[in-house]
Symmetry: C2
Subunit: 405 residues, 2 copies
């Protein structure tokens, strides 16, 4: 008998029919002898509708009240799921984030979990019930309702799985698992059976849309195996687990792409200490998240700094750069929003020389120019012209032997 | 400076525009130097929509989960009202029933308030905020979310007003106040300026739709003045207050009507002790609420018992009566769903002989037959044929001098 946390996303509970299908699956899991804790998101686009409603009141609403508003969606879906369980003979009880003991800090809209006190969930399990928990929400140390930000329901599920020492956290969604590349970009993309936490973190960080980086980090820290699978096919999907040193690893597991960012280049900067600190402090003070940063080799004591930011933050980032341009002595500040990033991820990469060379050769042989490069021990990212991203993903997918037969 | 609890019903918060109007009114009340606590219902028909959704899952859902579901509506409207207050410069904070310290028993769907612990509401007031509280909901002694049943938001408002020792509980709705009769039935009906708690209880119990009996009872017990008024005109409405013995009272204040009930007659029953007990115990065991009961004068030791029940419970009530018919020795059990009840209510009635006679004469002179009669010290109800109800209300309204000039 295993303890399984099952998280159902918005598309999995979008209407009464889908909710009944979820209940059937939970009943089947129980029938197979397992204990189940269910975590739910709001139905379909319900939370988006609430945001529209709030914007009709005002474009700028207090975060505390936005959290109070946005948590209504999970409350509705968890009650409906619990009702549906009752119709298939499974006794259950629903719990808000607060009732489930999810204690967060006081940062509304993107609260961090400080502590898990899932006493009522444990009691419910001991009483033979299936607890149905609202994802995405908690209660702050000031006793106010908080939300966990984007991907928050996954975080709830992983955190509960960790606190309850569950055997697995199953994330049900509208795709069948994690793929070797986005199938819309690379038609020959294959579904992966297993991915390591480290690989999944790189995939999530560089454009994989299945899981947010945050929940993968949480799962890795607490060593909670995640199983990403579909609530439409109910077939086994992709397992995200701790790297097994005895296993032979794929050199490259996945190719990701991301065209949501723009590039800023601060050129002709005197190569002296403190320049980068001044620049990125100013960006941070304006709440701008910087992703890739590349500083070119210094020539004649003058250097260029390039970095990427989300396109929607480009204007604010440019303003911040122009503000410090004189102070840091930069000659020009330019931007380019016609870029994309292609990344190869693989835990086996660190012990395989030649991966970098093969990546660059493949791009070169296909006439694709590289604008920026950034690497980690298990990832290589290249920034390219946006038009070339699709081609790059397909050629790299072939070159690294990932194409499905 | 007064402390005012303002309760806004579903039509008062039905969309962003109406919510902004509510915020303006709260701001104006604060500007006039008063402290304000707001209690809100769910927007328009939102709760009805949730019930439809639940019925799509199953016709019979666990009450605990229905409560979890149904409380989502107030959570949405209270957050939106709080946001709207912020746009007009009024600092506020929203509170769920649980956060507002509304402690109930564990009877889901129609919980009773056991205790009020509005510490956080008091703190918010002391901090200069306008607390916005979800109506209709509380938290049980078992820490589960409960709802207070029909008219529950009014109960929340009155209970908070009592606990906070507010000067008045204002109930904002889509009518301008309490009328001397239903204006749709009696076009000459007048709006009443003041009604005593006792009168309002009789009005609520016999067909007045503005307030539920329960909240009036609560207000009377705690002596909380209620002011029923419109959130569309914002004009002063009707005050419901403790009877002032120094005031000269209207003999008759209002005529109410109710056509939602049916009549059952259990005829030819031996007039011996225990018969009525057996009959009404059986009805109670089947969860049927009996309203008016009349037992005719016994003749030859045989009596007839007539009573009214809600039309929707008629079938179940007939079944219950037929079940005990033999045991109590009744000759026939018949029903009539073409009846209506007309009631005259007035605190001055108890000291005015002749009111009963005037009522019966008025009906007789207009060719209206009386099928059942029931009285209290400040009320007389007559059951008539359903077709005659409108005529009866209009003639009585005239006869008792209530017609507007």
């Amino acid at each position: 008998m295993a303890l399984i946390v099952q998280k159902y996303g918005g598309t999995s509970v979008s209407d009464a029919e889908r909710i009944r299908a979820v209940a059937q699956h939970v009943a089947q899991t129980r029938h197979n002898g397992h204990e189940v804790v269910v975590v739910v998101s709001a139905m379909g686009k319900f939370t988006d509708d609430l945001i529209v409603l709030a914007e009709q009141i005002s474009p700028n609403n207090p975060d505390r009240e936005m959290d109070m508003l946005l948590t209504a969606g999970e409350r509705i879906s968890m009650a409906l799921v619990s009702m549906a369980l009752s119709t298939v003979g499974v006794e259950s009880a629903s719990f808000t984030g607060s009732q489930a003991g999810i204690i967060t800090d006081t940062t509304h809209r993107r609260a961090k979990i400080l502590e898990m006190r899932p006493d009522r969930i444990r009691e419910a399990l001991d009483d033979g019930l299936v607890p149905v928990v609202a994802g995405f929400q908690g209660v702050s140390t000031e006793r106010d309702i908080t939300t966990l930000g984007r991907g928050g329901s996954d975080v709830t599920a992983v955190a509960l799985a960790a606190a309850l020492k569950a055997d697995v956290c199953e994330i049900y969604t509208d795709v069948t698992g994690v793929f070797s590349a986005d199938p819309r970009v690379a038609p020959k993309a294959r579904q992966l059976t297993t991915v390591s936490f480290d690989e999944m973190m790189e995939i999530a960080a560089t454009g994989g849309r299945v899981l947010m980086l945050r929940s993968v980090e949480f799962a890795r820290r607490h060593n909670v195996p995640i199983h990403v699978r579909s609530s439409f096919t109910w077939e086994p999907g992709t397992w995200i687990v701790e790297e097994d040193p005895t296993m032979e690893e794929a050199i490259v597991s996945a190719i990701t792409d991301d065209t949501s960012e723009a590039k800023i280049t601060v050129a002709g900067v005197p190569d002296r200490p403190g320049v980068a600190a001044t620049l990125f402090r100013e960006l941070a003070n304006n709440g701008i998240n910087v992703d890739m940063i590349v500083q070119n080799t210094s020539l004649h004591n003058v250097t260029d700094i390039s970095f990427t930011v989300a396109k929607i933050e480009l204007e604010a980032a440019m303003t911040a750069c122009q503000k410090v341009q004189q102070e840091i002595g930069a000659v020009t500040v330019t931007s380019d929003d016609q870029i994309g990033r292609v990344t190869i991820v693989g835990a086996g990469m660190k012990s395989s020389p030649g991966v970098t060379a093969l990546m660059f050769e493949t791009l070169y042989n296909n006439g694709i120019n590289i604008e920026m490069i950034s690497t980690s021990s298990i990832r290589i990212s290249c920034v390219l012209h946006a038009d070339k991203v699709g081609d790059a993903v397909r050629h790299l997918h072939s070159a690294f032997g990932l194409d499905a037969e």
